[in-house]
């Protein structure tokens, strides 16, 4: 198929990508039988589709996603949970008598699974291993950067865990909990997470993150 971009080129909305409308993938739109970029991102060709991997974008909750949220309201039949500054969800508990057993208060942080996301909004699943987070530092990153933070088969996040000795719980929605043996390790882990967020699209990132963590861990403070 004729293409109008080079491999891994940064493209902008409206940029022509292909003459064949059948090839339109994620982050693109088709008009007059041609494929154009709809978002700023890196254009890639995969499985006979042309897509744009957006640098930023909205988190679209999918059933099965594990997310971290903050309880914002306690109702007779469940909880209201903030999933990002733009998105909230509800956890409905079918048996009202069971609401108390969750023992959640406004301001508590939980780890839960998305049950459905649609017209009624985002619903969290009360029956699938809901976990109240008892301690740690809550860090928020852009949800579009979560997969980069995980890395190929978990390589990035595992490296951060290994070098800092921190326990890290990640929510698909971009909220992350960091818990470490001492403030320095935690600071190193948070700095690494922030670095991945701001430099997600760059080459040689793993090495830079590794160096930064080592610098912090060996430093005075």
């Amino acid at each position: 198929m004729p293409l109008y971009f080079s491999e891994r080129e940064v493209v902008i909305p409206g940029q022509l990508l292909s003459d064949n409308g059948k090839h339109g993938g994620e982050g693109t739109y088709v008009i007059g039988g041609k494929v154009y970029a709809a978002q700023v991102g890196i254009a890639v060709r995969k499985n006979n589709k042309v897509s744009v991997i957006a640098f930023k974008g909205v988190y679209k909750p999918q059933p099965g996603d594990r997310v971290i949220g903050i309880v914002t309201d306690v109702k007779p039949n469940g909880y209201e949970v903030m999933l990002s500054r733009h998105l909230s969800g509800n956890m409905r508990i079918p048996d009202r008598r069971e609401v108390k057993s969750f023992n959640l208060k406004v301001g508590d942080v939980i780890y839960a699974k998305i049950k459905e996301s649609g017209l009624r909004g985002v619903m969290l699943d009360p029956s699938d291993r809901v976990k109240k987070i008892e301690e740690g530092i809550l860090v928020s990153i852009h949800p579009a950067k979560v997969s980069r933070l995980i890395g190929r088969r978990g390589s990035m996040i595992n490296m951060i865990k290994r070098l800092t000795g921190c326990e890290i719980i990640m929510g698909r929605n971009g909220m992350i909990i960091v818990k470490g043996p001492n403030p320095k390790s935690e600071f190193a882990a948070i700095s690494a997470i922030k670095m991945v967020e701001s430099e997600a699209h760059t080459q040689g990132l793993t090495e830079r993150v590794e160096n930064m963590i080592k610098n912090i861990m060996e430093g005075e403070r």
Binding site: V10, I12, Y36, A38, Q39, V58, L87, E199, H201
Partner: protein, 240 residues
């Protein structure tokens, strides 16, 4: 004040530009951390910030639309952005410009992808030296792109003026004040479409046609700069 001479015998403007020359333009993307996308744009002494929030849940909920996102836009100037201090709060002019800027942006954003949400755009003019709505719109479209909002195209904009009988590109404040006409134009270049068009003053039919052609030339240069600004933002770390 008496009207100064704005264009010399050999076609040079008050600030030294040729008739079809843009002012020095500066664009930077991702300048305000707490928004979802932002940009800073300078056209000469006209300086503008734009920031985008959303798509986010609409409050109060009954304002939400079931089939698409609502786009809100506030164009606002700081009190010290103009010669005589502007009183605080929104003037009628700012309300009108907020509307035409919003409508320009509505025509390129894929609002139907985000039902029941709002996308909020704030344009803050920190110095006004002519062409603030066009600079603001240019910045707003960069901020939307930076926020990752799906759009059919970018928007680039510029004002053409008629000054001492000449058509001039990218009018500055003094040309606007003493000129015969001001024609702000915004286009979605890839879509070959006009998304904002206003005229304050008088043009003949022929002048209008020429003015539009002049605007189009300027817009294609501005569009190119937007493209570079976005690419620069996402490759800056790699180079360093």
């Amino acid at each position: 004040m008496e009207k100064p001479k704005l264009i010399s015998e050999d076609g040079v403007r008050v600030d030294g530009r040729r008739l079809d020359e843009l002012r020095p333009i500066k664009m930077e993307v991702g300048v305000l951390d707490k928004s979802d996308g932002s940009a800073y744009v300078e056209f000469g002494k006209t300086k503008v910030f734009a920031a985008v929030f959303g798509p986010r849940e609409v409050h109060p909920k009954h304002l939400a639309l079931p089939e698409r996102a609502i786009l809100n836009c506030r164009y606002h100037m700081t009190s010290f952005s103009v010669e005589d201090r502007k009183p605080l709060g929104m003037t009628r002019r700012e309300v009108e410009l907020s509307k035409v800027i919003r409508e320009a942006l509505e025509s390129i954003v894929f609002l139907e992808e985000f039902p029941r949400t709002s996308i909020d755009i704030y344009v803050e003019v920190i110095q006004a030296d002519g062409g603030t709505r066009t600079t603001g719109l240019t910045a707003a479209s960069l901020a939307l792109a930076d926020a990752g909002i799906p759009m059919a195209d970018m928007i680039a904009a510029v004002a053409v003026g008629k000054v001492e009988g000449h058509l001039v590109l990218d009018v500055c404040d003094i040309e606007d004040k003493y000129g015969e006409a001001d024609l702000p134009v915004a286009m979605a270049p890839r879509l070959n479409s006009i998304v904002l068009l206003q005229l304050n003053g008088r043009l003949s039919r022929e002048e209008f046609q020429k003015a539009m052609a002049l605007a189009r030339e300027g817009i294609s240069k501005i569009y190119q700069m937007q493209r570079e600004a976005l690419k620069r933002k996402y490759s800056s770390v790699e180079e360093g």
